[in-house]
């Protein structure tokens, strides 16, 4: 996050939550798209655990590369947001994806995402009001 004098830790938590929600949305839609694939393993992630892990991670340092042979810090910024196989399903069966469960997860995740966006918008509106009317 940028300036910690006006953006406190709450903004970091909210933006990380948006990241996790978007990642989970991609996983669920991937499951739904592969509903008819034989041998597909449905993936999902635990929101709370992933958020805690992502918040505990240090942000990657921006290091200038002084040599072309150095490894770049970019590309490794993807946090441990990999989905795990959700439950012990029979992957050799055709119906390895339960469409009802996936749809319920999709709606729940969508509500979470919209709520987080609304919280961010309201905090930003308060901050903007304090800046605009702050004084003359």
């Amino acid at each position: 996050m940028s300036d910690s004098r006006i953006f406190n830790r709450t903004y970091e938590v909210l933006s990380t939550s948006l990241d996790v929600s978007a990642r989970r949305h991609n996983l669920i839609t991937g499951n739904i798209a592969n509903m008819d694939t034989i041998g597909y393993e449905p993936k999902d992630l635990d929101f709370q655990k992933t958020l805690k892990r992502a918040m505990a991670e240090e942000p990657p340092d921006k290091i200038s590369r002084t040599d072309a042979r150095h490894f770049s810090g970019a590309g490794q910024t993807s946090m441990s947001m990999d989905g795990s196989v959700s439950q012990d399903v029979d992957i050799h069966h055709l119906d390895s994806v339960n469409i009802d469960t996936e749809m319920a997860n999709l709606v729940e995740n969508n509500i979470k995402y919209r709520t987080t966006t609304e919280l961010l918008l309201r905090k930003m509106a308060t901050l903007r009001h304090a800046i605009q009317e702050g004084g003359n």
Partner: protein
């Protein structure tokens, strides 16, 4: 909910003069400090509520309520400050 306070300040009941002279109200500076501290604590409460909504410890409506309270209290404080500055400018430009 908090009980309604401040209504007795606009009542038409006249208190006796000796009570009015011996009454010790908190000073203007103390009231101002308490109000600003109250607004600040409401901001911190709103931040905590937002984080708790994200982590699932608090309902959505409670978080929105806390954020709305913080926003409204800050807007009220800003308006009161504007009024005070306007009154000060009016007084400082008065010709005596």
């Amino acid at each position: 909910m908090n009980p309604l306070s401040g209504v007795d300040k606009i009542s038409l009941v006249r208190e006796p003069l000796n009570l009015k002279l011996t009454r010790q109200d908190p000073s203007f500076l103390d009231r101002l400090n308490a109000a600003v501290k109250d607004v600040n604590s409401k901001q911190n409460l709103g931040d905590d509520a937002a984080e708790k909504v994200v982590t699932g410890e608090l309902g959505i409506h409670e978080g929105m309520l806390a954020l709305g309270e913080a926003d409204t209290s800050l807007r009220l404080m800003v308006q009161v400050r504007s009024k005070v500055m306007e009154a000060y400018k009016t007084i400082i430009n008065m010709q005596i």
